[in-house]
Symmetry: C2
C-alpha cells in the first residue's frame, strides 16, 4: 500500500515587500538544516506570496522591483545549492504566487503578470501560470498593473494532473470576458483525462460572511471539474483591507479541511483516492453577482431594514477588527494605542476592541475631554468604562481652552464665535489634545467615527474625525449597537449598560441629541445602505416605506459631505461596499 | 461655387451631472426659437459631454442613471419636436459624447460604453461609436466602469467620410492591446476611399505642456490617415483634475485653428478642400510612452536637476491654478476664500494666486497667526503682502493659546509637552483658528503645502496640512520659487522680494530652518522627482551625483509619510505624476 498523498496549504502572513521574512519562511520550512525532513507532496502558497498584496504603484517602482529581483535570484541560488530532494524519493514542490516581470529595452516593466511559480529541489523557479481574471472593481485595480494570462493551465506534478487557478479565476462574471472554470472543464472533457485536483492561490479580501461564499463556489467548481479543490488564502491586514485566511479543501459537497481565520495556519490534507471523486454534477452555478453584489431580490417591504448580524458574524467582526488594528500597529511600528472616550457608545466600543486586541507589552490609554456641555453622566460612564477595562483615563477639560479660544477669536476678529463654528472648535480642541498626547508618547490614535456619521458628514473635519485608523467606519450606528450588545454578552459586561441605552449625543451644545439633526438611526441606516450598497434611487427607497423627506435629506447630506470622506483615515473594511479605497465619488458635481 | 464646409468644435464647460445646463446649452444653440439659424455642418462636442467626466462610481448609482436617462428622453423628444432642419437644406448634426447603457434583467447596468451619439433634426440620438481604448493608468479608472467598443467606426455625414475617435483612441500604447489609428488606416487602404476628416471627442486631463503633445500626436494621425484632424476637448475643473480645452484642428503639419485654454470656446473651421489634404506620410510615430511617461533618455549627469519651467509654462500654470480654484469654489458653493499667511513663500504665493483668480463679488481674506517663535520680519512681510494685495489680514496670535494648552496638558497629563509634540500644537492651533474663521464666515480654506513637503511629510497632519484644496501640492519648492519670480516679473511685485529671498522656515521653534531637517531643496527636489516620476532606484539616483546619505534619508522620509498623504486634500494636478487620485501606494509595507 502506498503512503497517502498529502497536499499542504501554507496560509502565510508577511508584510508587503518583506522579502527577508518571506525567504526565511521558505528556508525554515524547506532548508537542508531542518531537523526533520520537509513534508512530501505539493505545498500551496497564497497568491503573490513572494511579494505581498496589494502592491499598487509599488510594483512599478524600481526600488521595489530591484529588491524583488534580487530576492528571486537569491531564492533560485538557494534552490540550486540548498534545496534538497527528499531522501525517500517522494515528490516535493512549492507552488508559489509571485510576479512575472517582462522588461522593455529601457528596463522599465513592459508586462507584469500575477503568476504561479513551481519550485522543486535543485531547480530555479518555473513560471507555470498567469492569472486570467484580473479584478478591477471596487478596491481592486489589477488591470492597472497586471496583464492577464492568455489561457488556463494544468500541470503534471508527482504524476497528478493539477488544474491551476489564482483567486478571481474562480469568479467568472459579466465583469470578465472569459471563464477559466469553463475552459478547464473543456480541457477535461476534450482530453478525457480527469483532474486529480484543483488548486487556487488566493489573496481574497475579507468581508463578513465571505468565507461561506468562497466555500459555496468552491464546491460548485469541484462538481464542475469533478475533482477536489484546494484553496490557499493569504493572511494580513493591509491598511483597510483584511485577508482572513480560512484556507480550505472541498471534494464535491464535502469539506476536507478548513484553516483558521485571521491567523497563519498550515493545513496538510490527504488527497481523496480516485474512487472518491465526486462525479461531474449539474449543480446550479452561482455567479459572482449572485454571491457578492448587493441586489434587490426580496420584496421591497423586507428591504427597509438592515440585515441583522448573527452571533457568528459578530464574532468574525470582533476578530477581524482586532486583527486589522494589530496589523496596522505592528506594520507602522506602534505598540501604544490612544482613544478619546466620551462616555458615548462609539468611543467605548473602540476602546473595548483595542483592549481585546492587545498583545503582551502593548499599552492602551484613553483621554476624556469634557466641555461645558459634557454631562456628569458622561464622566461617570467614561470613568466606569476605563476602570472596567483597566486602562488609564487622562482627563483633559477643554472648557477653559474653549473660552480662551473664543475670547481670542472675538477680540481679534471683531465678531462672535458662535453656532456651528463654536461647536467645531470644541471638537478640534479635542483633536489637538489627542494628538499632543499621541505625539508626546508615540501613541497610535484610533478614530471613533461610524459609517452612518461618515455617510452624512455628521462629524467635524480635523476634530472628532481624526485618527490613524477607523475601526467602526464600515459599521452603521445600528450595527455598532449590535456589536456592543454581542460583546457584552460574549465577553462579559465590558461596556457599561447605560452607555448602550442612553440617546446618542455629540454634546457640543446644550441638550444636543443626534436625533435633532438626523433621522432616527433605524431609518437612516437602511436609507444609507440602499444608496451606497444597493445603489437605489430615491423613489426605490420611498417605495420601501421610508419617509420621502428623510430620504431626500439623507441623500443631500450624503452628497454634500464627500469632501470630509476624502480626507478621512483608512477604514477597516468589513462589507462588500465600504467607504475607502474602493469608493470613488467626485466632490465636485451637480447636487440634485 | 458651393459654400465652404465648416466644422464646429464646442469646447463646453458644465458640471458633472448638470443635465439641466447641458440641455440648455443645446436648446440655446440649436432650438427653434433662436433669432438666427444654427450654423450648418457637423458640431463636435467633448467626450461625455452629456454627463460630464470623470463620473467614477456615479455612473453606477441609480439616482444618477435615472436622471441621465430622463434627460436623454427629454433630449430625444426635443429633437423630434423642436430641432428643425436648416431652411437652406444645408446639413446639420451634433456629435455628442455620452454614455450608452445596457441593463440586465434586474435593471442594473450590465454594460456601460463611452460613446459618440449623432443627433440630427427630428431624430433621436443615434449611437455611432464606442471608445476602444479605455485608459486605466494613473488617475484613469475607465476599465472599472466602461466596456470597450469592439471596432473602429466611420460615418458618412453630409456626404463626408468621417473617422471617429474618442480621446485615448489617439494614444495607442503598450498599455493597450489594439490600435484604432492603425485599424482606421487599414480601412482607408482597404476601401480605397479617403477620409474627409477625423474627429476626436476628448476629455483630456491637463498637465503642463500637454497641449503641445496633443498637437504633435494629432499631426501624426493626420499624416497617417491623410486627412484633417479635429479635436474637441472638455473644459472644467473636477476636484484635482483640470480639463484645459485647447481644442484644435490640424491638417498635416498645419494648425488650422486653436481654441483658448481653461475657458469655453467655439471654433468654427473650414474643411480644407480635397486637394489640400496632406498625402500619407512616413512620419515617425510617437508612442504614448515617448510623449508622456517620464523616461530616462538623457545622460544621467543631466538628470540631477529638475527641468526649469519656461515663462509660457509658468503662465499656463498660473491660469490653470486660478481656473482650478474657481472651479472648486463655484461647484462647492463658495465665494469667500481664506489663506493662513505666515510671511513665508508658500502661503504668499497661494494668496497671490487666489487674488489673481478672484471674480467680481468674491472675497479673499488672510489670517496671520504669530507664535512666540514668529519673527518680526514675518509680521512685516505678511502685512506688506496683504497690503499689496489689498486683502484683509486678521491677526490672531497663538502665543497665549499655546501656553494655555501647554499648561492644561502639563497639569492634567503629568508630563511636559515639548519637542515635536509642542511644535505640532502650534501648527494645529493655527488649523483650528483658520477653520473657526472658515466655519463662522463660510470661507473656503486654501491649503498651502508644496509637493516637496508632501513627499517627505514635512508638515503637521491636522495642522498646516489642512484645507479644502491644495494649489501648490504638485509643485516642488524650487518650482514654487520659479513661479513666484515669474509672477512678480509678469504681474508686478505682488510678493515682497524678501519673502522670496529669506531662508524657508516653519518657525515652530527658535531659529528653525527647513534646512535643519531636509536636504537643500535644489537636491531634495530632483531626488523626489527621480523617485516619484522617473521611478528610479536609489543607486540610479546615486549615479546622478546626488549624495547617497541624502537619497537614503529622503527615501525613508517619503516611505514613512504615506499616512499623511492619505488624509490630504485634493491637489490641483499639474504634472503627469502627482500625489492624489492617481497615486496609489499602501501605507503598510516593509520600509526599505
Amino acid at each position: 500500500m502506498t503512503a497517502p498523498f498529502q497536499i499542504h496549504l501554507h496560509q502565510t502572513h508577511h508584510p508587503i515587500g518583506d522579502f527577508e521574512s518571506i525567504f526565511t519562511y521558505i528556508k525554515d520550512n524547506f532548508g537542508a538544516n531542518r531537523s526533520v525532513a520537509p513534508l512530501a507532496g505539493p505545498h500551496i502558497f497564497p497568491e503573490l506570496f513572494l511579494t505581498g498584496y496589494p502592491l499598487l504603484d509599488l510594483c512599478l517602482q524600481r526600488p521595489f522591483i530591484e529588491r524583488y529581483l534580487n530576492f528571486i535570484e537569491q531564492l533560485n541560488n538557494w534552490s540550486q545549492q540548498e534545496f534538497q530532494p527528499l531522501k525517500s524519493g517522494a515528490p516535493l514542490g512549492l507552488f508559489l504566487g509571485g510576479l512575472q516581470y517582462t522588461f522593455d529595452a529601457q528596463n522599465y516593466p513592459a508586462k507584469i503578470e500575477n503568476a504561479i511559480f513551481l519550485l522543486v529541489p535543485g531547480m530555479p523557479l518555473k513560471h507555470v501560470y498567469s492569472k486570467m481574471l484580473l479584478p478591477n472593481y471596487d478596491i481592486f485595480d489589477e488591470k492597472k498593473y497586471f496583464s492577464p494570462g492568455s489561457s488556463v493551465a494544468t500541470i503534471t506534478f508527482a504524476e497528478k494532473n493539477i488544474a491551476l487557478m489564482i483567486c478571481e479565476d474562480m469568479w467568472p462574471s459579466t465583469l470578465h470576458t472569459c471563464n477559466p472554470v469553463h475552459d478547464l472543464q473543456q480541457i477535461m472533457l476534450r482530453e478525457k483525462r480527469p483532474f486529480d485536483f484543483v488548486i487556487n492561490l488566493s489573496a481574497s479580501p475579507y468581508h463578513v460572511g465571505k468565507l461561506g461564499k468562497r466555500l459555496e463556489r468552491a464546491k460548485e467548481i469541484s462538481h464542475t471539474l469533478a475533482a477536489p479543490f484546494f484553496y490557499c488564502n493569504r493572511v494580513g491586514g493591509e491598511d483597510e483591507i483584511l485577508f482572513d485566511g480560512g484556507s480550505f479543501a472541498v471534494n464535491g459537497e464535502k469539506v476536507l479541511g478548513l484553516a483558521s481565520q485571521f491567523t497563519t495556519d498550515l493545513l496538510s490534507l490527504e488527497l481523496p483516492g480516485p474512487g472518491q471523486y465526486h462525479p461531474p454534477g449539474e449543480k446550479t452555478v452561482n455567479t459572482w453577482e449572485s454571491l457578492f453584489e448587493p441586489r434587490i431580490k426580496t420584496a421591497p417591504a423586507t428591504m427597509a431594514r438592515l440585515r441583522e448580524f448573527s452571533p457568528s458574524d459578530c464574532e468574525e467582526i470582533v476578530k477581524g477588527l482586532c486583527f486589522g488594528l494589530q496589523e496596522y500597529a505592528v506594520k507602522t511600528g506602534h505598540r501604544k494605542f490612544l482613544v478619546a472616550i466620551s462616555g458615548g457608545l462609539d468611543s467605548s466600543l473602540v476602546a473595548v476592541l483595542a483592549k481585546l486586541s492587545l498583545a503582551p507589552g502593548q499599552v492602551l490609554e484613553s483621554i476624556f475631554m469634557p466641555s461645558q456641555f459634557t454631562s456628569s453622566l458622561s464622566y461617570t460612564l467614561a470613568s466606569q468604562l476605563a476602570r472596567g477595562l483597566e486602562i488609564k483615563m487622562h482627563t483633559l477639560p477643554i472648557k477653559f481652552l474653549h473660552s480662551t479660544v473664543r475670547n481670542a477669536y472675538n477680540d481679534n476678529c471683531g465678531e462672535e464665535l458662535n453656532g456651528l463654528a463654536d461647536e467645531n472648535v470644541q471638537s478640534r480642541l479635542r483633536g489637538l489634545l489627542l494628538y499632543a498626547k499621541s505625539n508626546r508618547g508615540g501613541f497610535l490614535v484610533l478614530n471613533t467615527s461610524n459609517k452612518s456619521e461618515l455617510a452624512v458628514g455628521y462629524s467635524t473635519i480635523y476634530g472628532d474625525s481624526v485618527g490613524a485608523l477607523a475601526l467602526l467606519g464600515d459599521l452603521y450606528k445600528t450595527e455598532v449597537f449590535q456589536l456592543a450588545r454581542y460583546i457584552n454578552h460574549k465577553y462579559g459586561p465590558m461596556i457599561p449598560e447605560e452607555i448602550i441605552s442612553r440617546p446618542p449625543t455629540a454634546e457640543l451644545r446644550k441638550d444636543q441629541k443626534d436625533s435633532d439633526s438626523l433621522p432616527p438611526y433605524e431609518r437612516l441606516d437602511p436609507i444609507l445602505e440602499g444608496i451606497l450598497s444597493y445603489r437605489l434611487s430615491l423613489s426605490d427607497l420611498s417605495k420601501m416605506g421610508l419617509p420621502q423627506e428623510e430620504i431626500e435629506r439623507t441623500y443631500r447630506l450624503y452628497l454634500n459631505s464627500e469632501y470630509k470622506r476624502k480626507q478621512f483615515s483608512p477604514i477597516i473594511k468589513l462589507k462588500p461596499k465600504s467607504f475607502g479605497f474602493g469608493y470613488r465619488v467626485p466632490i465636485c458635481k451637480k447636487m440634485i
